[in-house]
């Protein structure tokens, strides 16, 4: 049985998230679609950016097109509709607007190459996915643009496929380190304290409030709308009895640098999900050693990791060496070279 069938049994919406641009997301997408076709699965495909054009808009490197099989449901904005190399049947004009025009929900009438694009915002994707499922599909794949990781948000997708590759660094060690960092952040421990979870789950997800919670579960609001640029204020808000700091938005190195080492050790920082972490691999490890604890309300499932040993910047690694290095560093996770296929679980 194929790789996709395993994933489809567990997850209905899967995002392909790239560690960097040209990490091989589109190749991974084509590979998954091909497997899905063999398995007889009816797929929905959308993108957080634009996909399937022949040459890359950012670096102008050759890039693979997206080949869609008959009966696939796909989102295509008006301006790209005419550029599809096959026939598409318009099912619905959605309310979602992009700079390339209104997003159309289409059925692929005959297999062929299609340029896909969807809204840039995560909220819009959520709505769009619901409309796609109304068309009776088995699974949705969201292709993430560039290195945008916010699409991994568990509110949008059940699981992600992480695409990594040579493009990240000229040294295999760095590629592996960066990849492991992302996977480990995504697997951050969940909030175990039931009382705390109960308090935080009552928070309105659209109203961002930074909270401190003390040992008796007294909640206090930090008087800022965002922790960005407000590291010192967050630091001041941490009192002797504070046990948790809930930050609904991003946490960055600049915020954490303003929290005193003693307070950093004393509290656990709680986030809605791991997409809020904007700290690099090296700094993250340093902070962890200094006593940084992060817990999340929701985790991100990493269904698989794909590797691409080629970089468009003109160098490549030995494919087995990279594949094995990533496999070794991520035991228990399916790792696949999408150009070769042949996943061994």
């Amino acid at each position: 049985m194929g790789f996709i069938a395993d994933i489809q049994k567990k997850y209905k919406t899967v995002s392909i998230v790239g560690m960097a641009k040209n990490a091989g997301k589109t190749t991974a997408l084509n590979y998954l679609l091909e497997e899905a076709y063999d398995e007889g699965l009816r797929m929905g495909v959308t993108s957080t950016g634009r996909d399937g054009e022949t040459s890359d808009l950012v670096f102008e490197t050759d890039k693979p097109k997206v080949y869609l099989f008959e009966d696939t449901i796909v989102t295509v904005p008006e301006q790209l509709f005419g550029l599809a190399e096959t026939s598409l049947e318009i099912l619905k004009r959605t309310s979602c607007r992009t700079a390339l025009g209104q997003v159309l929900l289409c059925r692929v009438a005959r297999s062929g190459y299609v340029q896909i694009a969807g809204p840039g915002s995560i909220m819009e994707h959520k709505k769009l996915c619901a409309q796609m499922f109304e068309q009776g599909i088995d699974m949705i794949i969201i292709d993430g643009a560039i290195d945008r990781k916010s699409i991994a948000d568990p509110a949008t997708s059940d699981a992600i496929i992480l695409s990594t590759g040579a493009v990240i660094s000229r040294r295999i060690k760095n590629v592996v380190e960066e990849t492991v960092h992302v996977v480990s952040v995504y697997k951050s421990p969940l909030v175990e304290d039931e009382k705390l979870r109960a308090i935080l789950e009552k928070e309105d997800r659209d109203v961002f409030r930074i909270l401190t919670i003390d040992k008796d579960y007294n909640v206090a609001q930090v008087p800022v709308r965002t922790a960005l640029g407000a590291g010192p204020i967050v630091n001041d808000a941490i009192g002797e009895d504070t046990r948790f700091v809930y930050i609904p938005g991003a946490i960055t190195e600049r915020i954490l640098d303003h929290i005193s080492p003693a307070k950093l050790k004393q509290v656990t920082i709680v986030l809605p999900n791991p997409t809020k972490v904007f700290v690099g691999a090296t700094r993250w490890q340093q902070l962890r050693k200094m006593g940084l604890h992060v817990q999340v309300l929701e985790n991100i499932e990493v269904a698989a990791v794909t590797v691409n040993p080629f970089s468009p910047h003109g160098y490549s690694f030995d494919r087995d060496e990279l594949l094995n290095a990533v496999k070794e560093a991520l035991p228990g996770l399916p790792v696949v070279d999408v150009r070769v296929g042949g996943l061994d679980l």
């Binding site: 957080t48 560039i146 960005l228 600049r254």
Partner: protein, 259 residues
Amino acid sequence: MSNFTTATSTVDLTKIKPYGDTYNDGKVQMSFTLPVPDGEEAQEAARQYAKLMGMDEPSVTHHSDLGIGYTFFVVYGPVHHTVDYTKIRVTKVESHVFDRVECGEWIAKNIGRTITMVGASTGSDAHTVGIDAIMNMKGFHGHFGLERFKNVNAINMGSQVPNEELIAKAIEVNADAILVSQTVTQKDVHIKNLTNMVELCEAEGIRDHMLLLCGGPRISHELAQELGFDAGFGPETYAEHVCSYVMQEIVARGWVNKK
């Protein structure tokens, strides 16, 4: 028998070529630097390089030693490649462009409040020319900046502003739009910086009530779109383009009474 008819060259839009002295002669001039000391070998290298790029009979019209083993060349010659102009499609920001005074009136009539835009040149970019051209009162090339627009509150944070500070400010003033300028960058660091901006906005949950715009000489609307921005403004766009887009989007998205 005499035939004085000269060959008439006309422009075939499906196969356009550069114009030098006559139609379709394909003459192109280009400049580049090679990492070799100036000399006859260097000039031959430049000629061969131009040939590989599709130039027939290139001539080196200028060469100068840049010191420590580098030479700068200008090469001139005909190329035979053609482009089908009729098949070209460029995605542009689709909004009607009003002038400065009209913008102010339009906002008063259709939005009925002051709209706020916060802008900066972000990341490592120290160049203020782009954001100043759009935001500062004196503007650029005869086009006044947003500060001179009626009913617009324009906040220019300057250059080398970290993405987080720009977002923090936008949240503080409850901005309608964030303008990011990227003028000079190396090795595509502006791409990383721009996607980081989008990601931070998503994480902060402001992506659905603030417009996110970027601009600069290497930015196109298409690129901005691919990166996850709402719109991109490239060369030859001015404050009125930005303002026209922002105010019409505010209405289209139902943000007139935004709190």
